[in-house]
Structures are given as structure tokens and as C-alpha cells.
């Protein structure tokens, strides 16, 4: 049988236990970050990302981003063929600068959130989401 990433996951279904192949970072992601930040340095700080440690279903992974002072938050799935997930923009009158959505992940990878803050600086945070089909509980 030909083993591809996709049928590894499907095979997990035919078989039993588990299949996950970590996917490599995508070169396109670096370009997207550069375009968003205009090459500015990206630090850490006022940006929060909530994502599950292990996805219950890689096809629909709930994530949430928030920040007190962001004007824009870009979300990237670093291992997806198209890493671009969404860019959320918040105006000055936004009651809360938070957004949640569901994303599809091709495999175990980092999800990255980069925020542009009111002062023009950029901050980022990342979370590894593992995509697996199964295991055996205690």
C-alpha cells in the first residue's frame, strides 16, 4: 500500500490505534509573517492563543486569540499547505479584542498568532497542536 500523509490518517481508521505524521513548517509562512510585520522585529507580550494540546478532530480544531491592545491579529497554521488561516482587525471601539474560530490542520504542527499592537509593535505566541487518531486510555 502506498503510504501518504492522508491515507495514513485514513488507515488509522481502518486499523486501530493511531497515525500522526508531524508536518514540516511551510516556507510560505515566513513570507506571510514578513508581509504582515513589514520585517519588524516580533517580540512576546500582549497576545494570547488558546488551542487544544491534542486535537479531537484535525478537520475542525477550535482556537481562540485575544489581546488587550491589538489592532490586528494574524493566525497561521505553520504546517498547512496554505498556512494563512485568518487576520482579525479590531477598531478602537471594539469592546473586546478576541476572536474564535475553527481551523483544519493537516497534521501535528504549530499554530502561531501574531498581533500588531496599538503602538505599532508586533508580538507573537505559538501552540503545538498534535493531530493523532488514537491511543489507549487507562
Amino acid at each position: 500500500m502506498e503510504l501518504t500523509r492522508r491515507n495514513a490518517i485514513v488507515m488509522g481508521a481502518a486499523a486501530i490505534l493511531a497515525a500522526s505524521l508531524p508536518v514540516r513548517g511551510n516556507a510560505a509562512a515566513g513570507d506571510l509573517i514578513a508581509a504582515f510585520t513589514g520585517g519588524a522585529e516580533v517580540g512576546t507580550g500582549d497576545i494570547r492563543l488558546i488551542a487544544p494540546e491534542i486535537a479531537e478532530n484535525g478537520n475542525t480544531v477550535p482556537i481562540e486569540v485575544s489581546s488587550d491592545t491589538a489592532v490586528e491579529i494574524m493566525v497561521l497554521a505553520m504546517g498547512n499547505p496554505t498556512p494563512n488561516v485568518a487576520t482579525f482587525k479590531f477598531g478602537k471601539l471594539a469592546a473586546s479584542r478576541a476572536a474564535s474560530t475553527r481551523i483544519r490542520l493537516a497534521g501535528t504542527q504549530d499554530v502561531v498568532a501574531i498581533a500588531k499592537l496599538e503602538d505599532g509593535s508586533f508580538v507573537q505566541t505559538a501552540s503545538t497542536v498534535k493531530v493523532t487518531i488514537g491511543g489507549c486510555g487507562g
Partner: protein, 565 residues
């Protein structure tokens, strides 16, 4: 100074919580001393609040034998830390005398001899006696069940958990949380939970469609005890739809959700909680990490990974209590709660030695009642064993070796895979194997024994994936459980490597040939998490195999080479 009378009992004051890293040693036990019920239950009441914790009973109503693991490897920050210390090293650490009943109950080594000396453990009628004794001193003690209660036996399967519900109701718990219960299917779980006379808690049980807290499972409940306001927060097993068949409970989502846990802790503190207790099915290492991230939890009653620890582990200002499995232990935690905080505690892990602790007649009658319709089927002798049959351990146990043998011969496969679950009692050499014994190590609602083809490459992916569930250095990426058991297949595992590089030297044992990544092999296994899995039930496969053998012997299995431990 801890006196002999206080052995198996530890306590400390709040000032020490802030400053000390250790809990002192138990009093030393005289080897092979006669044990009495009074000794096992001796406890000088402390403070104003008592918690009673029992967890991971896995439907074991009657006394059983249960061998603790000899291999339980810790990784990352947990390397060499409890509960990843076993056998003689564990006994030295806690000052447990070799040959004592504490050796027998808490650690591996000389299991067969000690089992013959000290007898069976557990039995929910004995557990009832312990609970009643504690309640006679502290009538308002809280009884908290950590889950994995409605799963794991013939009668539990046949009654869809009703036997356990009836017996647990007789013990009058105050709250519980969940894991394997959900494998009864959400319809049945909802039906039982709607009628439960106690709280069904889970701050991380969410509605899958809306990603909002599920209405049926409140995150917490308040109790007024000893003039203190106590919040008990439930934490169900985080990875249920991944480690177990999610299609059986598609309406629910789980996850660790420590941000939500922090919100709930802050909320109950804001509402005046003097004490915050988390009733958890996270597993021990996950609980340790959660305690380091979420602030404001006083006590975590930890379940899932089946660890039995004679002393709580302290993380920051949170104590974590691990109470074993299969009805073998009850933990009592007395707390001094004053001025909105925990000032100190006294703890005792009580081993349920079934020949020492008298059964409670009322609960015995309930147990006999739920078993009565099935007694004939339960007691039928299928065969006998020459070897000790046990399961616990990271890599293989003799029960799983026997199950894998059954799969290979009954299903005509090259290689067998058996799930690395941690439940399932032990059988001593010379004992008969009854139908009940077989069900005790196989019973589940998705027990079909499948047969499929896998390439060598895919088999490698499977082993790597399961190994990462166990040996990922970050506990939040671990699912609990042990390594998938293999029959007909040997391999080398370096647990220090990342996923994809741990498993090497895969060998087909029958021929001694290396596994060829491109070649297709016939694989038999059971407990698939996928819907529509076909095949005979695993307990029938195992029963047929044992019946043909008459007397089974399981030779030592050294087909897995472990490095980096």
C-alpha cells in the same frame, strides 16, 4: 516525629507547605506483622474537613489480586519522580519494609508469595466498611469518586453500568467525574447521570457543536462542611474522543482546558470558597503540570494513571493525592480549613486488604443482588494458569502476552496488537481462569477483534504514535495508558528520542526477519476506536484459546528492548 502508630499516615502544617519539599518517612513496619482492621483504619481525626477519595474502580465489585507495575518510566521533568519509581527503589524511598503488607499493596516484587500471604485486595463491601468508619468520626466527610467506575467487568457490560450505579449509590458519594463511563454511549450516560443522586462534575466537558460547557455536567459544586465552604471542581479525562471511540459520544468535547479551570477556580474563590478541591481524571503527571499553571487549587484528587502513593505530592501550594485503582485503596485526607485557606492536612492511603477488613453486610447484599442473575456464567472455569497473569507495566504483561497469543492463533495473524490499558486484575499461578477473569481484562463496549493488513512502514507509524502518547516529554501531550502490547513482533525503543525516531529494530519473531517497510503483514488486534470495526468479541477469542490450551503458561517476554529509561 512519625510514630509507628501513624505509619501510612502523613501530616504537616501549613507553614511547612510553604517551606518544605518532603513529607518525611512512614514509620517502619515489622516484616510480616499481623495486620488488623484497626491498624489499617487507625487515623487521628485532624482539622475540620475530611475527604474520602476512591478512583478507577473499573467495576471490580469483588476482591481481586492486583500486581503493581515494575516498569513505569517517567520522562522530561518527571524522570525519576513518583509515580515513576517502582519495586525496591519505591520501598526504600518511603521506608517500606520488604515483605510488609505495604510492600505487597504498593509495589511490585515477590508478588506471588506476598499475594498468598496477604490475600486478595479490594471489594466494594470492604470499601464501604472503611467509608462508614470514617463517617462515624466525621459524619459530613465528602466521598468523591474519580471515575472509571462504570466499566470493566462482565456484569457491568451486561447491565450497561447499572450494577456499578446501584452499588455506588449504596456508598452515597457526593460527586464524581468521568472517563470510561462515556464508552457506554452518550445516550446511556445521559440517562444514568440524569438520575444520579449526587453531582456529576466536569469543567472540561463541553458541547462539541458549540464548544460551550455541557449543561448536564456542571463544572463544580459547593459543599458546606465543618463550617467551611468547599468547592469541588470536576476534571474529566481530557482525551476521551481520542483514546476512546469518539463516535460513541459525538455530542461531547473535552480537553485539558486549564484556562477554563483557572476561570472556575477564580469564580469559586470569588464566591467565598475556603477550600478548592479538584476531582481529576487527568492522570498524575498532567495533574502536576496543571497544578503548576492553575493557581488557587488546594487539593487535587488524582485518577486515571492508577498510581498509588503513600504520601501526597506537593506542587506549589497544591497537594496531589493518588489513590490507586480497582478498589484496592481508599484515601482519607483530613484538612484544617480556616480563614479561607487550607492550614494543614493529614493523609492516609488505606489499602483494602480484603481478608483483614470486614465486609459491610448491607453493601455485600447489594453486590450479591446485582451479580445473582449472572453467577453461573461468571463462575464457569475455562482453564487454568501455570503462570502469574498480570497487566500493569509500560510494555508488556503476561495477560497481554496471552491475549496476543490468542489473537495470533485464533485469527491467523502474523502480528497481534493489544491496547496498553492499565485496568485488569491479576491471576496467581495454579488458579483457575473463570469467564469473569477473562472479562475483567477485556470487557468493553468496543471489544471486536479485527483483522487487517498493514505495511511495515505503517506499523512503525502506529508504534511511534502510541509511544509519543506515553513518552512525550510534555505531560499535556500524554494520554495516560501504556505502550501498545505486541505479539509476534519485537522492537527496540529509545524513549529519549522524538516521535518518529523512537522505534527501531522491528522484528517478526516467527522468522527472526526484520520488518520490511514495504511488505504487508496480517495484523490482529482489538479495541479499535473506529466505528464499524468487525470481528468476534475479544473475550470469546481469549476464551476459545484458553479452552484449547487447558492450562496456559506464559513464558518470559523479552521481545522489547528499552533504552534511555
Amino acid at each position: 516525629m512519625i510514630s509507628r502508630r501513624d505509619f501510612l499516615q502523613t501530616s504537616m502544617a501549613a507553614s511547612a507547605i510553604l517551606g518544605a519539599s518532603g513529607f518525611g518517612k512512614w514509620g517502619r513496619l515489622a516484616a510480616q506483622q499481623a495486620v488488623t482492621q484497626d491498624q489499617l483504619l487507625q487515623f487521628e481525626a485532624f482539622g475540620n474537613v475530611s475527604l474520602i477519595h476512591i478512583t478507577d474502580i473499573h467495576a471490580q465489585l469483588k476482591p481481586i489480586y492486583f500486581r503493581e507495575p515494575s516498569i513505569n518510566i517517567g520522562v522530561g521533568p518527571n524522570k525519576g519522580a513518583v509515580p515513576h519509581i517502582t519495586g525496591a527503589e519505591f520501598r526504600r524511598m518511603y521506608g517500606i519494609e520488604d515483605g510488609s503488607y505495604a510492600h505487597y499493596a504498593l509495589s511490585s516484587g515477590d508478588f506471588e508469595a506476598l499475594a498468598r500471604g496477604y490475600g486478595r485486595v479490594g471489594g466494594l463491601d470492604r470499601v464501604a466498611t472503611v467509608i462508614n468508619q470514617i463517617r462515624s468520626e466525621r459524619p459530613d466527610a465528602l466521598l468523591l469518586d474519580g471515575g472509571d467506575t462504570w466499566h470493566g467487568s462482565y456484569t457491568c457490560y451486561q447491565t450497561q453500568g447499572q450494577d456499578m450505579v446501584d452499588v455506588m449509590n449504596a456508598l452515597k458519594p457526593d460527586a464524581m467525574t468521568f472517563h470510561w463511563e462515556f464508552t457506554l454511549g452518550s445516550e446511556r450516560v445521559n440517562e444514568i447521570v440524569e438520575g444520579l443522586p449526587f453531582a456529576a462534575l466536569g469543567q472540561n466537558i463541553f458541547d462539541a457543536e458549540w464548544d460551550e460547557p455541557a449543561e448536564l455536567f456542571p463544572p463544580y459544586k459547593f459543599f458546606e462542611r465543618g463550617s467551611a465552604k468547599i468547592a469541588v471542581i470536576g476534571q474529566a479525562f481530557p482525551y476521551m474522543p481520542i483514546a476512546n471511540p469518539g463516535w460513541m459520544f459525538p455530542e461531547y468535547a473535552f480537553g485539558i482546558r486549564d484556562e477554563h479551570m483557572q476561570e472556575i477556580v477564580d469564580k469559586v474563590r470569588g464566591q467565598g470558597a475556603d477550600l478548592v478541591v479538584v476531582l481529576s481524571h487527568n492522570g498524575f503527571d498532567v495533574d502536576k503540570k496543571m497544578a503548576s499553571i492553575v493557581s488557587g487549587i488546594d487539593v487535587i484528587l488524582s485518577g486515571h494513571t492508577h498510581d498509588a502513593l503513600p504520601e501526597p505530592v506537593l506542587v506549589g501550594e497544591t497537594i496531589i493525592v493518588a489513590s490507586g485503582s480497582n478498589g484496592k485503596f481508599v484515601s482519607r485526607v483530613d484538612l484544617d480549613v480556616r480563614n479561607g485557606r487550607m492550614m494543614g492536612f493529614r493523609h492516609k492511603l488505606i489499602p483494602i486488604l480484603s481478608d483483614v477488613i470486614a465486609p459491610d453486610p448491607e453493601v455485600s447484599a447489594v453486590i450479591d443482588g446485582v451479580r445473582a442473575p449472572f453467577e453461573e456464567a461468571l463462575g464457569e472455569v475455562i482453564g487454568k494458569t501455570d503462570s502469574l497473569l498480570y497487566r500493569r507495566g509500560n510494555f508488556n504483561g503476561t495477560w497481554d502476552d496471552l491475549i496476543c497469543d490468542a489473537l495470533i492463533s485464533e485469527r491467523e495473524a502474523d502480528i497481534a496488537l493489544s491496547p496498553g490499558v492499565r485496568w485488569g486484575p491479576s491471576i496467581l499461578p495454579g488458579q483457575d481462569i473463570t469467564r469473569e477473569d477473562i472479562w475483567n481484562v477485556t470487557s468493553m463496549t468496543y471489544g471486536q477483534a479485527y483483522r487487517t493488513e498493514m505495511t511495515g512502514e505503517f506499523l512503525h507509524v502506529v508504534l511511534e504514535d502510541v509511544a509519543d502518547n506515553l513518552f512525550n516529554p510534555d505531560p499535556y501531550y500524554q494520554q495516560g495508558g501504556d505502550m501498545v502490547r505486541t505479539g509476534g513482533l519485537g522492537y527496540r525503543i529509545d524513549i529519549t528520542q522524538p516521535q518518529g525516531s523512537r522505534i527501531t529494530d522491528m522484528t517478526l519473531l516467527r522468522s527472526g526477519e526484520s520488518i520490511d517497510p514495504a511488505k504487508t503483514y496480517q495484523i490482529a488486534g482489538w479495541a479499535s476506536v473506529n466505528e464499524g470495526t468487525e470481528g468476534p468479541q475479544i473475550w470469546d477469542v481469549v476464551e476459545n484459546h484458553i479452552r484449547k490450551q487447558g492450562t496456559v503458561s506464559v513464558p518470559q517476554n523479552d521481545s522489547v528492548t528499552v533504552v534511555g529509561a
